[in-house]
């Protein structure tokens, strides 16, 4: 049974929670969104972005779900006030009500792994099979477009990040296709064992419709968010449909 608009409206009525940014921590990325790190009042550091390919709503919803299933860092609504800005104006584009993804220490984007592999600083044998399977299952489920993955250099955990390009075509219910990003130096079979896949699929199947409603609600309005209720409802029902197809699809990856 599809999720109804009334269910979203009821949760939206509770209003959204905002986390206040304190100061620009100074690390930047040269990605589409020109993200920058901010320390927030909860003492955690977040990669903050004010724009995303499919709206900030995509980054927030997918980030919330990633944290729920344990596939990636948590995403939060962040208020970046003028008082937190560096004097040089280099982060002015991030001011306002934006989205932040929690920074995780000791991680490296897979795109930057090759030099570390060459110098021996990255040990491919460290990569954790269970977390790789979980990230493949998660990214397959939410249909990431611009696939990005972090590797924790100490634990080998694989993490899904940067979900701003998700949900580009939710108008048509379409079964997922496997999205498995290759990790330099890591055998393609890592995470493709039955136990890892089963555990990953079970975690995503454990996401109930109620969880999905929570993930797509209590979100700011406005252009950078691009999250009117009818679109968020469409995303929720698209995710429901794909969650129920995921086991079958992931079996083809085994």
């Amino acid at each position: 049974m599809p999720i109804e608009l009334e269910a979203l409206t009821a949760v939206d009525a509770r209003g959204y929670e905002v986390l206040d940014a304190l100061t620009c921590d100074g690390r930047r990325s040269s990605t589409f969104s020109q993200t920058c790190t901010f320390v927030c009042v909860d003492s955690r550091t977040y990669w903050v972005k004010a724009s995303a390919q499919q709206g900030l709503v995509a980054e927030l919803i997918a980030g919330r779900l990633a944290a729920q299933v344990g596939a990636g860092p948590a995403a939060r609504i962040i208020r970046v006030p003028p008082e937190s800005m560096p004097a040089d104006g280099s982060a002015s584009h991030l001011m306002g009500l934006v989205v932040g993804s929690e920074d995780e220490r000791n991680t490296v984007n897979v795109r930057d792994l090759q030099p570390l592999l060459g110098s021996g600083q990255f040990n491919p044998g460290l990569v954790d099979a269970g977390s790789r399977a979980l990230v493949v299952a998660f990214q397959t489920w939410v249909g990431v477009d611009d696939t990005q993955v972090l590797i924790n250099m100490k634990t080998g955990q694989v993490r899904s990040i940067d979900h701003g390009a998700c949900f580009s075509s939710t108008g048509q219910l379409s079964p997922p296709t496997v999205i498995a990003l290759a990790i330099p130096g890591v055998a393609d079979g890592v995470g493709r064992d039955q136990a890892s896949i089963e555990n990953a699929v079970a975690r995503i199947e454990a996401v109930t419709d109620r969880h999905l409603i929570e993930a797509v609600t209590r979100i700011p309005v406005g252009e950078p968010w691009r999250g009117p209720s009818d679109r968020r409802l469409e995303i929720a029902n698209w995710l429901t449909y794909r969650r129920d197809k995921l086991r079958e699809v992931m079996a083809t990856w085994h």
């Binding site: 929670e17 905002v18 986390l19 206040d20 940014a21 304190l22 100061t23 620009c24 921590d25 320390v39 927030c40 009042v41 909860d42 003492s43 955690r44 550091t45 208020r79 006030p81 008082e83 937190s84 800005m85 560096p86 004097a87």
Partner: protein, 255 residues
Amino acid sequence: MALRPPERGFFSIVRWSADATRDEARNIAVVLVDAEGQFGGVKTAPPSSLSQDLRQQGLLDAVLHGLARQFEQEDRPDLQRMRQISAGLSQSLYLTEPKATAVPDPDLTLQALYRAYVAPLPQPRRALTKSVVIDRVVQGLRRRGFQVKRAQYMGEFFFDALVETERTVIPFDVLSFAGNKKDWLPSERDAGHFLYGLERLGLPGRAVIQPPAAESGEPADITWTRVRRWFDEAHVPVFEPDEVADPNMPLRLGV
């Protein structure tokens, strides 16, 4: 966690390097000010987490406590003062260039910046070493309003803490038997040195002892009993760390 509209503040990180010739400085405190000296404060890492060396702990404590006391005065440090302090410190101890920060609440902001930049990484269970117990004793005494110097010489004798009263100075000895060490002889020597120093200086003293824990074993119990007897015979009052911090516990320090 939405708070009232923030004010603008500035913060610096206090950094310290045990060896100024090596690029191994670490963050040991955060200082928060605003442009006019309306609010601000200092939050420092426990000295026991900064160095294994009791004398270095005392030195760092003196500098950081001195900085913190400036914020207790009516004329609080402002951004200009922080820049002056920053310019005046270099080598092994220095402040980073002040950075802007939103301040929805000064205490909350200081706490958040401290946890983000300074706080030691969480450990499963921090051992109650002598240095950790000294942290608690010094902090507890200061909260009760006593003037305390940590890890200082008096004359030719080194004491874990010195409490300065109007009439005298009272040395403190701090011991911990909460570990599972095999050799407790250094604790006996520590106590013996303390009692000898008191006798030579003609001063009253106080001892603070963390009792043995379940894992400490019999040798710790034997030494603990022995040094307590020495302190009793020398008429040195003995307290447990929690008692020192308890405002209802009379320490009879003559204040």
